[in-house]
Amino acid sequence: MARTKTEQPLLKTFADHEVIVPANPLRHAAVAARPDDEDPVARAEGALALLSSEFSMWMDLECKRLDAARLAVRARGFSASTHETLFHAAHDIKGEAATFGYPMVAIAAESLCRLIEHTPDMRRIPTPLVDQHVDAMRAIIRENGRPEAATVAVRLTRELREVTDAFLRVENRDRMHEMDGILSPPLAPDVAPEATRI
């Protein structure tokens, strides 16, 4: 790929800040769309659909990783290491499960992440509640596709979230400044602002 020589950025200096306008080295990648152009998003979704035959196996592997992390907590209790490993496993599932076709598992994983992340003293995280989250995720995956499984999954994840939130309210009762952040909904937008100009 040919690279052009780097152009100098434009610089405006103000009393307490500088505004720097770097040359846009990526502008060569913006080209005029033609009516017969294939939709790149549809093409990428098609590519992902081809990959999807792997997803149930990947979901299973991620669940086994979470289960191993949960068993380590059960055997050795919470330490910096077991805490981090459990959070990381749950956090990966939270990010991936919906893509793998298990959106309710992602919701249960999010609830578990909140429990692990927002309990100020890790030694007070109730391991039965951790077990309930992990077992719920495994059950949702196992029963996926069965009649009424979706309804049960919704009820199960809602109850896990309610119990977790109630616990976090108590544990954070002396940290009111943190409470808003803990109980506020996510902020990240689903779609970036529309791109309208070059």
Binding site: M1, R3, Q8, P9, L11, T13, F14, A15, D16, H17, E18, V19, I20, V21, P22, N24, P25, L26, H28, A29, A30, V31, A32, A33, D37, P40, V41, R43, A44, E45, A47, L48, L51, E62, H88, H91, D92, K94, G95, E96, A97, A98, T99, P103, A106, C113, G181, S184, P186, L187, A188, D190, V191, A192, P193, E194, A195, T196, R197, I198
Partner: protein, 182 residues
């Protein structure tokens, strides 16, 4: 209307989860990208950034050795590397307000919360290519302008002080870099 010619762009994907790297790579190839490099932690990511000079960097937040936020801090150092302006997309399972604000204040260009979708990723890349933002440098921040909207009815405090500074000639970043290495 414009479209993005992905085969003219070079990507670096940094994520410790192999499944997620495979998904991102599949989407980018689906868009038409040919050059997609991968690493699995922040340290290897920084090395690959220097080696491959990617046009766009896509990084996870939570990773071993150093995380996506620390990686962004290291890249957003004027004069410390070849391209402190490189667009950085933070692709993460974190979506809480506190996290999004922290990523923005570290100099992340775009924030993309998992679960990833082809449409959302495409929009982020389109925004980076078609609507690049100027960079702002203050005593405490170096990164893309955090003001995406020039709101005429903004009623909050004005934190930036306008007016030209007394300094008439400002050395270029290159000159600054040369001076600082002497």
């Amino acid at each position: 209307m414009i479209r993005i010619d992905f085969h003219r762009l070079r990507f670096l994907v940094i994520d410790d989860n192999a499944h997620m790297r495979r998904i991102v790579r599949t989407l980018l190839h689906g868009f038409g990208a040919r050059e997609v490099y991968e690493t699995e932690d922040g340290a290897a990511g920084l090395e690959a950034f220097t080696h491959y000079s990617p046009d766009i960097l896509i990084t996870d937040w939570a990773m071993p050795i150093f995380d996506g936020l620390e990686l962004t801090q290291m890249i957003r150092q004027p004069g410390a590397n070849s391209n402190p302006y490189v667009p950085i997309i933070m692709l993460t399972g974190h979506s809480e307000k506190k996290r999004v604000t922290a990523a923005r204040d570290t100099g992340v260009t775009e924030f993309l919360a998992k679960p990833i979708s082809a449409k959302a990723l495409y929009q982020r890349v389109l925004n980076i290519v078609a609507n690049p933002r100027p960079f702002i440098k203050t005593r405490t921040y170096f990164g893309p302008d955090r003001r995406r909207i020039n709101a005429q009815n903004y009623a909050g405090p004005e934190r930036r002080k306008g007016g030209n500074a007394d300094v008439i000639r400002q050395p270029s970043l290159l000159e600054k870099a040369r001076t600082s290495t002497k």
